[in-house]
């Protein structure tokens, strides 16, 4: 397997990371997503996604990586975030790494949903959501403030934001969805909901390195100790790779 370097983020400053989620080794989530994409690179290249959407792109690290492995001109890389600094950083990170990302300030995929329904939808959907369980109000405020707290505050079971994406049927019929989840999100129930509500087959593979996030600074994510990260890889039915 080809091993690609993680994107160059040297242009982002300490100040940027006070406002935008930092891909950091001690948090792991950003990198587990890169690993999952890299592990599937051959299948993804074969599937030839033409519309990639990363919800909550933050620094832009993951979409940049996707563009690097799939080819900058092979796909449209849409990136949304509610945080304007994140959209700006996403833009810059694409540029720094010679790929074009198209950042849009939007909650989830709201501004695209109507057209996605008509044009077949998203071929590659990526979401490292605010997944930390918090009080609902805390999540609501973080969404409203659209600042760094919006990167982690996930409300009940850490699922308030992710649930909205799961309810939105925006995947194309051969679409794939990479979603970061932690144990507290109740991974089996996410899987089950995807199966039941959208006709998805059982998880094709369960990417998990059982990484524990217990070294998180409490200041940033107070409930984050003892998390287990999973990248769920959900594919639509009739995917020829399903039996693999």
């Amino acid at each position: 397997m080809l091993s690609l370097p993680t994107p160059d983020l040297s242009h982002l400053t300490h100040e940027d990371y006070e406002r935008v989620y930092e891909p950091a080794a001690n948090k792991e989530d950003t990198f587990i997503l890169l690993d999952a994409l890299e592990a599937d690179v051959e299948e993804l290249l074969e599937a030839k996604p033409r519309i990639c959407l990363e919800i909550g792109s933050g620094s832009g690290c993951v979409s940049t990586f996707a563009a690097k492995i799939l080819g900058p001109s092979e796909c449209l890389y849409l990136c949304t975030d509610i945080n304007k600094h994140a959209a700006r950083c996403t833009h810059l990170t694409g540029r720094q790494n010679n790929v074009t990302l198209d950042p849009v300030l939007s909650s989830l995929s709201d501004a695209f949903n109507q057209r996605f329904r008509k044009c077949g939808g998203v071929d590659l959907l990526i979401f490292n959501p605010p997944y930390v369980p918090t009080a609902d109000e805390e999540a609501l405020n973080a969404q409203g403030d659209a600042d760094i707290a919006g990167a982690w505050a996930g409300g009940k079971l850490g699922m308030e934001i992710t649930n909205q994406v799961l309810n939105n049927d925006i995947l194309s019929h051969s679409g794939r969805f990479y979603l970061v989840a932690v144990k507290q999100n109740d991974v089996p129930s996410i899987q089950e909901r995807m199966n039941i509500e959208q006709g998805m087959p059982p998880l094709r593979h369960h990417y998990s390195d059982r990484i524990f996030l217990d070294s998180l600074p409490l200041r940033i994510r107070p409930h984050a100790a003892d998390e287990v990260l999973d990248v769920l890889h959900l594919s639509q039915p009739f995917d020829k790779h399903l039996t693999a």
Binding site: R50, R88, V104, R115, F116, C119
Partner: protein, 122 residues
């Protein structure tokens, strides 16, 4: 930046605004041209996902009249080169996109379109 490929996928999503809410009209734009790598296969694959008239009209709004009113049946290289330019190389850096139905203004600042709505608009 807002490229026309992205513009072609955006609609107004103000609560209750569900008809005639696409395409958004450009207003007071500042445009930059930036070269992109030509990829004929990508373009051929992407064509079915484009709302053609919206793209042609948006191109015109930005001063580019190179696209035919009707999507040609044969997607030859000459046509694809024009499509490539309109879809991927015109970047709207500043200005706004306005909903043709409700008039909501979505600003574009430093190349980033702000599609966020306030709580009362959702």
């Amino acid at each position: 930046m807002v490229r026309l490929i992205t513009h072609n996928l955006l609609s107004c999503h103000v609560k209750g605004c569900t008809r005639n809410n696409f395409p958004l009209r450009f207003q007071d734009v500042k445009v930059e041209l930036r070269e992109a790598e030509f990829n004929a296969e990508f373009l051929r694959n992407f064509v079915p996902r484009i709302e053609w008239k919206a793209l042609v009209d948006a191109g015109k709004e930005l001063g580019d009249t190179s696209l035919p009113e009707e999507l040609p049946e044969m997607l030859g290289d000459e046509f694809l080169k024009k499509l490539h330019h309109v879809l991927l190389e015109i970047h709207v850096e500043e200005g706004a996109m306005v909903c043709p139905n409700c008039g909501h203004v979505y600003k574009i600042m430093s190349g980033i379109p702000n599609m966020l709505l306030t709580e009362s608009e959702i």
